[in-house]
Amino acid sequence: MSEQTPVPQATTSPADEHRRVESVEGAPRGSAFGRFMSSSAGRNVGLVVALLVLCVVGAATTGQLFVDVDNAMTILRYASVIGVVAIGMTFVVTGGGFDLSVGAIVALASIWSTTVATQTMAQDFHWIVMVFTAIAVGAGCGLVNGVLIAYGKMAPFIATLAMMAAARGLAEMISDKRTQLVDVQGFGDFFSGDFLGLPVLVWIFAVVCAVAWVLLNRTTFGRRTIAVGGNATAARLAGIAVNRHTVLLYVLVGVACGIAAVMLTARTSTGSAQHGLLYELDAIAMVVIGGTLLGGGRGTIVGTIFGVLIFSTLTNVFTLNNLDTSTQAVAKGAIIVIAVLLQQRVAARSDTS
């Protein structure tokens, strides 16, 4: 009874098909963990299947190489950086927005936090200065985006496209197009290290995911994000400061970019104006494949995590199989289509049952 959809909409607007939300409708009352599991397993069953299929293919074609803790770590480390960006993007998209500037912000934040000035300060004080710098730069760029969109009434596509050009240009100007090596005491050691057997980068990603999940599903901020994205008029009439909230969302994704910049800086031990190339498309793709509705009103952190894992596992399996890049591109296109169609069929079946 609880799963009827108004049919005319559902069959006409393709985007509507993508609806999924981690609200707890109809979920059996139980522990928070139980609910989390049921929401992730139940609603993301298509994604789970897609990921499993991918893993089976990986294992079948490369055997030992794929089924290996080190390889899992390779995938996870790789996934962590873009993953943090995708998590931030999930909020903006859920709130009805769009951010094309994430890659450029990552680049600018990485450059700004590895300038000679910042590194000297970090050397004198603590490497945490670099972290703060990166996050502040990300937040600042996000603020500009948000203000232009919320108060300047610019289309998100245009405002963030402008930021994309400007931030990367600024990064090039600051760095004079040079890659900036990091040699601050402790920075690399900390971020490249392990903690309880897992790489620190993966821990950061995990923490970001957990915080984001709570934020989206368990706080007023998260619920208001869905409201703003789903029906801005209703949100405004309910007394939500829609403009301010929109600004916050872009600041949030900016902060995520700042964190990702730190991670990337640590991973490559450099800041570069070329960091984060094409992150915007990848991140949005991961978010949308995960089931968040482009246009707003539905968002899922768990789905995004699956989206991130699917993409990075795909790349890994390709490389292990020594595939030529062109073939990779064609296969990637086909696999994305198959994964999404599969997910829809499975979701539809589990809905009606």
Partner: protein
């Protein structure tokens, strides 16, 4: 009845580009009363209450609340003063649960963390108070039918600690039983000295629940302080329309027994919604479907129209079977549908009125794909004028029209199309009395011209008054079929109840 005045709005003016929606409106509301706001479509009722709720800023005029002049800059400011509003257009967020919608903007939270359990329990209590314990607070709102959503809107208004609740046509999507429940809630509220502003186009409701009436016409207050129970209907209508309107159903035509069957629906079923519906409509006949909200009437219309896939059964128009599940096939066979939700299913809100009207008839105005726009506009305008849409400027965008006028636009679309079968789903929802009787006359005229009409309405008197024959539905089954003359409102209600008990 001389309770103190709690709200005084005076000389409120609000203009939109090109329209003066409010042109000096006065309104005063007393503690604990039900104050009814009447007016034709487009009179400015919704605009007035949006000014009151802080959603619109007036161009001039004053609002005095509990003796003090206030400025209500934002919806939050109004809520903080103790004014809650149920808007005419359901303003809910589909992706959130019932409980989350009810507490949106004033969440029960500790340090920003939602208190899930508390919210759901509190929402549950509110729904129970409204007589709907069956709506689960965890249910996603987008999956509720319109009536359920209206209940959630009401619960949301009640969730505030308020002195005044404004209800903009809350009964439009409710059936009689639901309206009864709504009224008992309103009585509870007024007993607690909470004032209610009540807007409806159903005059009998005003009489039943209202204390005093204010009438708006063309953005001005034309009468105020009228007694709701005692003022004669004819006087209310005269105040609203400025003329005398015959508020009656048109004379039934004589549908010949041997008139050809135009629409023939046989054994139509859709699992979960309705089963085994047989429906025959002759040329010139109006067949009404009566039943409670949720009895599957809309689904039947949509299935006939091809907008839903049927489980089994057939639809025949003029003896030819139409391909199931194809709207285009139905439209080509001469079937038209006025959908239940005009905003989401009917209109292109950003487009000019005439383009909305001509949407289903584009082919007629085209030669080799090129539109003859003069023709298109002229013919659309003709129908818009015939339906007395206000303002009658066909270049306006449909989104700026008042609710009732939007409904007329959708009707005009099918008038223009000159269809053989017209399926009307709640055609008078939100339509004012004047326009309503015009609509009735129009539907009857269409029937007399040979159109076969299927009418769905939650107002049983409307079905019984307008239709030639009625089918009574209960939970997806036809429980009675017969001439409209042979049955009265109580019998219909009894049938419906029996059906659901069985």
């Amino acid at each position: 009845m001389t309770a103190e005045t709690i709200l005084q709005m005076s000389d409120i003016v609000k203009t939109f580009p090109g329209v003066r929606a409010l042109d000096g409106v006065d309104l005063d509301v007393r503690k604990g009363e039900v104050h009814c706001l009447l007016g034709q479509n487009g009179a400015g009722k919704s605009t007035l209450i949006k000014v009151l709720s802080g959603a619109h800023q007036p161009d001039s005029g004053t609002i005095t609340w509990q003796g003090e002049r206030v400025r209500l800059n934002t919806p939050m400011a109004a809520m903080n003063q103790g004014i809650a509003t149920i808007y005419q257009e359901l303003d809910l967020v589909d992706g959130l649960s019932v409980a989350e919608n009810i507490y949106l903007g004033h969440e029960l939270a500790a340090a920003g963390f939602s208190r899930h359990g508390d919210t759901e329990r509190a929402a549950g209590r509110l729904l129970e108070r409204l007589g709907h314990p069956e709506i689960s607070p965890q249910q996603e709102v987008g999956k509720l039918p319109a009536a359920g959503q209206q209940i959630v809107s009401m619960a949301r208004a009640l969730s505030h600690d308020v002195q005044l609740i404004v209800m903009d046509e809350p009964s439009a999507v409710l059936d009689q039983e639901e309206v009864g429940r709504l009224f008992s809630v309103i009585r509870d509220l007024t007993a607690d000295d909470i004032a209610v502003i009540y807007i409806s186009h159903r005059l009998e409701e005003i009489r039943e629940i209202g204390d005093r009436v204010t009438v708006l016409k063309d953005g001005r207050t034309v009468a105020t302080g009228l007694s709701a129970p005692d003022t004669p209907t004819s006087e209310l209508i005269r105040e609203m329309t400025g003329r005398d309107v015959e508020y009656a159903f048109p004379e039934r035509g004589m549908t010949a027994e041997d008139a050809p069957v135009v629409l023939d629906v046989a054994g139509l079923s859709s699992p979960g919604d309705f089963t085994d519906v047989d429906l025959r409509v002759r040329r010139g006949e109006i067949v009404g479907l009566a039943g409670l909200v949720g009895s599957g009437r809309s689904e039947i219309l949509e299935t006939i129209y091809g907008a839903r896939k049927a489980g089994s059964g057939s639809v025949t128009v003029d003896g030819r079977r139409i391909r199931p599940g194809s709207v285009a096939a139905a439209v080509n066979a001469g079937v038209g549908l006025c959908p239940e939700e005009r905003k989401t299913q009917g209109l292109l809100l950003d487009e000019a009125i005439y383009r909305n009207v001509s949407l289903a008839t584009l082919g007629r105005f085209a030669r080799g794909g090129f539109l003859r726009r003069g023709d298109e506009r002229a013919q659309a305008e003709q129908h818009v004028r015939a339906l007395d849409v206000r303002p009658a400027d066909v270049e306006r965008t449909a989104g700026t029209l008042s609710g009732g006028n939007q409904q007329k636009i959708v009707l005009a679309r099918w008038l223009l199309r000159e269809c053989r079968v017209l399926l009307l789903d709640e055609p008078t929802r939100g339509v004012d009395v004047g326009a309503r009787s015009e609509l009735y006359a129009l539907v009857r005229r269409l029937a007399d011209e040979g159109v076969a009409v299927v009418l769905v309405s939650s107002e049983i008197p409307e079905v019984l008054g307008l239709a030639d024959r009625v089918l009574v539905l209960s939970e997806g089954h036809v429980v009675h079929e017969g001439q409209a003359d042979d049955i009265d409102e109580h019998q219909v209600l009894d049938l419906v109840m029996e059906g659901s008990a069985a």
